[in-house]
Symmetry: none
Subunit: 350 residues, 2 copies
């Protein structure tokens, strides 16, 4: 199944509960937008594109439950849902992009509130379907960068679980594998939430792609000793100059690739690009609960002193200068990014 | 107290049991060399300089319990103790260095076996005291690099627990604090064995130095956003050109400091330098059991898929070009390291 799917019969959204993987595969059904916001916040669903689609379906759910028939009042209540959904994850641009698209759509409808509701359900479904199509295109574009025999270091989870299907960086890896290229993946465990060990490893097993897990700090060792020759990760928000906000640790990984002349790629749909931001310093970085860092256990025992405090930024910004290329559904973008990125992103899709 | 101390009244060696930290602070008393070997093997005591001193006291304990008064037979029994102690951590260079020094001392004594025993007790004490003195000098040298208000990122554990007292990089931080400088430490948790969360955090609490734990991949975020302005770590082996082998993750941390114009320092006693190695590529890197990577738990549950495999290099090599300076007991060494490092290391101590 897809990471999230609309169920027409029950008017609910079904999501794989990613917090339980790889131990359990469980699907939750959500029938109201507040629970969608909560699911995003608590990372039942995660990954920028998946969150965007989840937010869109959240708006559809909100519309379904609004009782008033007066259009003005209806749109006003819809706006409240938008506000609550928007707050659930501040860094990922796809969420606000999807919410903007849903609100704009709602405002344009000529008909009554029932018609608005149906149109919003269709629009959310369209966002999800487009995501799958976009990811397939990205995967095909990116797969051309991968050669038979490559060992790729990958950070966080950017697979189908992070999107509606296929994924971004991991979609590229999966596509290369499906095209018959023999590849090996070194999976950054990706502290603190361990999306690499937990989700990427699980996905790679589903695809039968050989992999090994490494601690994030070990990537430099493999890059410096010639035991890895490509770096791929996703993006949560991209500025007009090619600076990429992504899961914390991406920046240091990119530095280690760059320092050894090994190509580093970020893979993202064009909706991840925020052309209003001149550079990555303007991207707000979410800081999450310190328990994600401190809650680690070994042999069932906590590791840090009981009164210890932690800092926990969820993302960091990798400067565009460290990338060999940026992979989108519209093509691979090469430096200079401050010229080529806006040009390609603004290009109309066919 | 010191990490290990000789008790004159009971002729025993007392050690902090590092396996129980930070949960419990427990001191064990050991009265025979076989138990010293066992304590080294099971990592009651760890850290190359601390192990060296422990081995020396082990030889003193062996001498105390040898019953024969014939000098030849006495030395032969002492040699057996040396062999057993030497096997407890075959890779630790300081251990064999300390054992060699103890045996050589014993063989030189003109007097009887009681006199040999007393001289060995004194020599072990001297090895421990010298370690403290070297560490104090390093700490004082390095503390001059730290300014009031600094926020320092530190990797692994390099504190008094790894030595007899003071420590290397953490010794520098402690000395700066004792000299009245107000500092804050961001403690890399240091996957996979988490020596940062486990031991460095505990030590900083003992010294009342404010700190926060971070995941290793987050260091780049703090360095790039100006929230940290110095990087300090230790060294396990240093080549003649200033390349430093240290706990895995050090290289990526140094890259992140360097990329932001933030000074990066490695702190080590001159005995850590191996002038026979032209560069760091010649340093063999130990790969440890994959369970250190895969054995992590959250809420009592394993994270990685059950059949997952991992790679686990214990160290990496940071090229000398990334360091602003190298701190030793003989002074701070500045670039060009391939000239200045051999010169200063070969310089006789006063």
């Amino acid at each position: 199944m897809r990471t999230l799917e609309w169920d027409k019969n029950t008017n609910t959204i079904k999501m794989i509960d990613q917090r339980l993987l790889p131990g359990q595969f469980q699907v939750v059904s959500i029938d109201n937008y507040q629970s969608v916001a909560e699911a995003i916040k608590t990372m039942v669903v995660r990954g920028a594109p998946a969150i965007g689609a989840a937010g869109a379906f959240g708006m559809a759910l909100a519309a379904l439950h609004i009782k008033v028939k007066d259009k003005e009042a209806f749109l006003s209540e819809l706006q409240q849902a938008d506000t609550i959904l928007r707050k659930s994850r501040p860094t990922a641009v796809n969420l606000s992009w999807a919410l903007n698209r849903m609100m704009a759509k709602a405002k344009k409808v000529i008909g009554n509130t029932d018609e608005i509701t149906q149109i919003l359900i269709d629009e959310a479904q369209r966002i999800a379907d487009e995501d799958v199509e976009i990811n397939r295109k990205m995967a095909l574009n990116g797969a051309s960068l991968i050669e038979d025999g490559d060992t790729i270091i990958h950070h966080c989870n950017t697979g189908s679980l992070a999107t509606v299907d296929w994924g971004t960086a991991l979609g590229v890896i999966r596509m290369a594998h499906e095209l018959g290229k023999h590849i090996h993946v070194l999976v950054d465990e990706t502290r603190p939430r361990l999306q690499g060990s937990r989700l990427t490893a699980w996905e790679l097993e589903q695809y039968h792609i050989p992999y090994e897990i490494i601690s994030d700090g070990a990537a430099g060792f493999f890059l410096r000793t010639g035991q890895a020759n490509k770096v791929f990760f996703g993006a949560d928000r991209v500025a007009a100059n090619g600076d990429v906000a992504n899961k914390v640790g991406s920046y240091m990984l990119a530095l280690a690739g760059y320092d050894n002349g090994i190509p580093v790629y970020s893979v993202f749909p064009s909706s991840t690009v925020d052309l209003s931001l001149q550079n990555g310093d303007e991207i707000p970085i979410e800081e999450r609960n310190q328990d994600e860092v401190l809650g680690i256990q070994f042999n069932g025992e906590m590791v840090a002193p009981r009164q210890a405090m932690a800092r926990n930024p969820a993302f960091d910004v990798t400067p565009g200068r460290l990338f060999s290329g940026l992979v989108t559904e519209k093509g691979i973008i090469y430096p200079p990014f401050h010229i080529n990125l806006p040009e390609i992103i603004k290009r109309d899709s066919k």
